[in-house]
Symmetry: C2
């Protein structure tokens, strides 16, 4: 698999938090929002916020900050969240069902249009308004739907086999919630969402915090 | 909220992937594993792997690599994953249920011992072998269980209120799956798990990839 390097990965990861705040600011009727206000809200340094936002091509005005509506447009364009993207969820267990119903996705232009599951008894049912099909129907359903993005939430031991079928069906981007390193050709992107990484961060923060609050320890 | 900075955050986030590979290597009976092998497996540069692993205090031997068993111990100790940690899941919807049943957590020493939900009809039920209690019982159940870690999967509009109750009940670490910036005192750690961040990364990768594969575009 060819690497697809994102130069400003930590900045990209923070953009959705900025977008949330700036959208709230728009809803409040604000014309400008300062980098310092965003920084305070998110417990970041103002210089960091300015640096992150600069990747979208926008610059603030001294003393006024960023114009709210153009800032939203800049972030959404950078992320391509101003275009509707349709995706399928593959693996309609608890995680797949949670993601199918995640309210935030539509705000980002992401529409889940179908789910697939190996359990044939689920076929014909719906997760909210999303139809569930059997896994074997991937190869016909995905081309029919014209979808090129898949969210993968199947058990790890079937992840690569299912991925191979997804690729054959025309999938070009996989948001991978399994812990399997998927093998895909160069023209396919994979974003690994490893929950263990988040837990590793929490674990190290706990260790650091308990060391710094030794006085409070029992 | 005081910041809890983790100096090597990207390295910490990669440690679980390394651990998975090194555990497989142990299961295969290997005595040593090379940084280059780990790098190839994860599509990283060998220098990056060596740098990441060095935060745990371990160093490899020229030509042989890292001793497998001590490497596992070093990563687990760094992450404090060699100690059993008990946690509660707060919000037993689809995401909470998925996390309650996530098989990888126990391998990291994380044991979910109870779930709570606002829906009183869920009280008394079980998610796999984990008892579900009603949300109002937090204040008595959490001190009884002696748990200090909570996984927060409630709807965003109740996240701060529930957090306040969790803090009163003795919770000191929150793995936050809501998009709310929680207000907590200095001795409490929060790890935000924002699914939008992962989707932002996928979106930018798709944009970069389609630019570099312009020739294939329709």
């Amino acid at each position: 698999m060819a690497k697809c390097k994102v130069s400003y990965a930590p900045s990209v990861r923070r953009l959705p938090s900025y977008l949330l705040i700036v959208r709230q600011s728009l809803a409040h009727g604000d014309e400008y929002i300062s980098g310092t206000l965003i920084a305070n809200e998110l417990n970041l340094e103002p210089i960091q916020v300015r640096k992150d936002l600069s990747i979208t091509g926008i610059t603030g005005k001294p003393k006024r900050g960023y114009p709210v509506a153009p800032l939203i447009t800049a972030i959404e364009s950078y992320l391509n969240w101003n275009n509707r993207v349709e995706a399928v969820v593959v693996g309609a267990g608890n995680l797949g069902s949670a993601l199918s119903g995640f309210p935030g996705f539509r705000q980002h232009g992401l529409y889940i249009v179908a789910a697939f599951d190996a359990d044939k008894s689920k076929a014909g049912s719906k997760i909210r308004d999303i139809p569930v099909y059997q896994l074997d129907d991937l190869s016909t359903r995905i081309p029919e739907l014209g979808v090129s993005v898949a969210i993968l939430t199947v058990p790890s031991d079937t992840a690569q086999d299912v991925t191979t079928k997804l690729l054959e069906a025309g999938i070009k981007a996989i948001w991978n919630f399994t812990n399997v390193k998927l093998k895909v050709p160069d023209d396919v992107v994979v974003q690994n969402e490893d929950l263990s990484s988040g837990y590793a961060m929490l674990s190290v923060k706990r260790r650091i915090k308990s060391a710094s609050f030794m006085g409070d320890a029992i």
